[in-house]
Symmetry: C2
Subunit: 334 residues, 2 copies
Amino acid sequence: MIIAIDAMGGDLAPNSNVEGAIAAARKMSEARLVLVGDEARLRPLLADAPQNIEIRHAEEVIATEEEPVKAVRRKRDSSLVVGVTMVKNGEADAIISAGNTGALMTAGLLITGRIPGIDRPALSPIIPSVDGAGVMILDAGANMDAHPEHLLQYAVMGSIYAEKVMGVSRPRIGLLNVGTEEKKGNELTKATYGLLTNSSLNFVGNVEGRDIMEHVCDVVVCDGFSGNILIKTMEGMAKTLLGALKEEFTRSLTSQLGAMMLRSGFKRVKTQMDYTEHGGALLMGVQGTCIKAHGSSNALAIQRTIEQACKFIAQGVNGLIAHEIQKESGDLHA
Amino acid sequence: MIIAIDAMGGDLAPNSNVEGAIAAARKMSEARLVLVGDEARLRPLLADAPQNIEIRHAEEVIATEEEPVKAVRRKRDSSLVVGVTMVKNGEADAIISAGNTGALMTAGLLITGRIPGIDRPALSPIIPSVDGAGVMILDAGANMDAHPEHLLQYAVMGSIYAEKVMGVSRPRIGLLNVGTEEKKGNELTKATYGLLTNSSLNFVGNVEGRDIMEHVCDVVVCDGFSGNILIKTMEGMAKTLLGALKEEFTRSLTSQLGAMMLRSGFKRVKTQMDYTEHGGALLMGVQGTCIKAHGSSNALAIQRTIEQACKFIAQGVNGLIAHEIQKESGDLHA
């Protein structure tokens, strides 16, 4: 199995990307890792790297703030586009990038194409839950104006991922909504509710933003706009709250002492709330395996994302999606 | 000025409602407060209440879990419907309820009617910001499938509220979106962006869920579905995070001691994050002043909401909205 890593994408690139790749390469000797990027910068970082890690030179870099579609079209020799093209050509089984999210979504869709039967790919992060299990959200921002059929397809993809990669049997599918009652929501969720009820999936009904972290379901489906609002609000609230607490902890000598006594507890909570614990956000529904690691990924986050990619490929998730989606849409039209 | 209070609505009703009303009545001797509800239960609670507080008997109660439209139609003699009807008939200037949100929105709209020029009322809570100022969100769930013109109207209403009640000069209006760039978002936000840019409001562009608590704007406009996801996710994340920390604090003797030393700091952060600090959620755009207090409102939260209502009425916000909305739609069609 060959995993391409965009060595130049992300706030801490290339150092953390290389470091994470080396750690993953050591742990999984059966995998081959290809760092895509500026060879002159990458070579010195690989001084004592294991045998199963190599470099593929790419001249350009797509910056985080670049307009995605333009960047992908113009920068053919960027680390991100070269990595995705390797997947398209069968030179790699997956590409991981901590760089420009929009560019990865664009390249994944335009270069590798959609899985037959999937109308729209979904950006699918796994958000932390209090019990440590994690919950997959589809879609967190790939497709802004979604139709009910798209959400059904997200549910099929999420269910397969949760079962095969997260090890959940009969994953519980929730529909993001403003209340738990069946009739709640907007036109999209009302129509989707019926589709999910009639599907073969384990649909557990509507879920609210405040319940997701309590792990009331394993997979949440929603339109990309709402999903994006959801994950950014969670992330922002956690950051704001922990920041406000941190400020309180340095207020006096007493509070500093108290904070020291609580240090390990805080660390545990921070780890529990850590977005990178479960790897990156998959672009589910494209032919090639594309995973977006968090922009601020450190070495450990990159390593986790590589491990996630390996599991995804080993389980043949994309093939299962193609198979199931045919069955589900057959049932739908039967 | 006469404020009606649904004495029977809310998790802590009627005791907290009565207690909060008494405190408000003492503080604002110029206001008259009317507790609407079961006289037999309320009378004993008013033993040493001031002169400017009275009871209006109502036989029934709408429970939190009741279907709103049915409940409002059937329970004409419920404390909530009687209170809203008092506003309609000019017997009260405002109604406050901590009960069924949907029922208050339904009664507000059906019984008191819309302000001329406003197509859809908006549920408008004020969420906490790190600097303590608060940010108004419209709409947090009154209107699920909104059009761009509705969001423009929300912006006009929010701007007037922020200026007149929160004391902000030239309030900054933000559009909830998935990124800050102009072209981001779904069909609704793209169309709304243009309307807001061409309005006379102080539109500061797109804002993301993670930035709102940092007070990047004073008013956030969005469709009711997204707004509801936003506020419930913020609330849920804060609860989950503070709950996880609390658990850590009781883990060992050391952590218990540390938590004691940090007690005042935690209290400050909790107060900062408290939803009830700025009062309740207004139903902006209806002719009568209807305010939804948080379901778990204690006496202080009820008191704050009563004070908010008084300020809203004293500033003549609804009249200003009617005036401004004519001007803004005139400009729009000019």
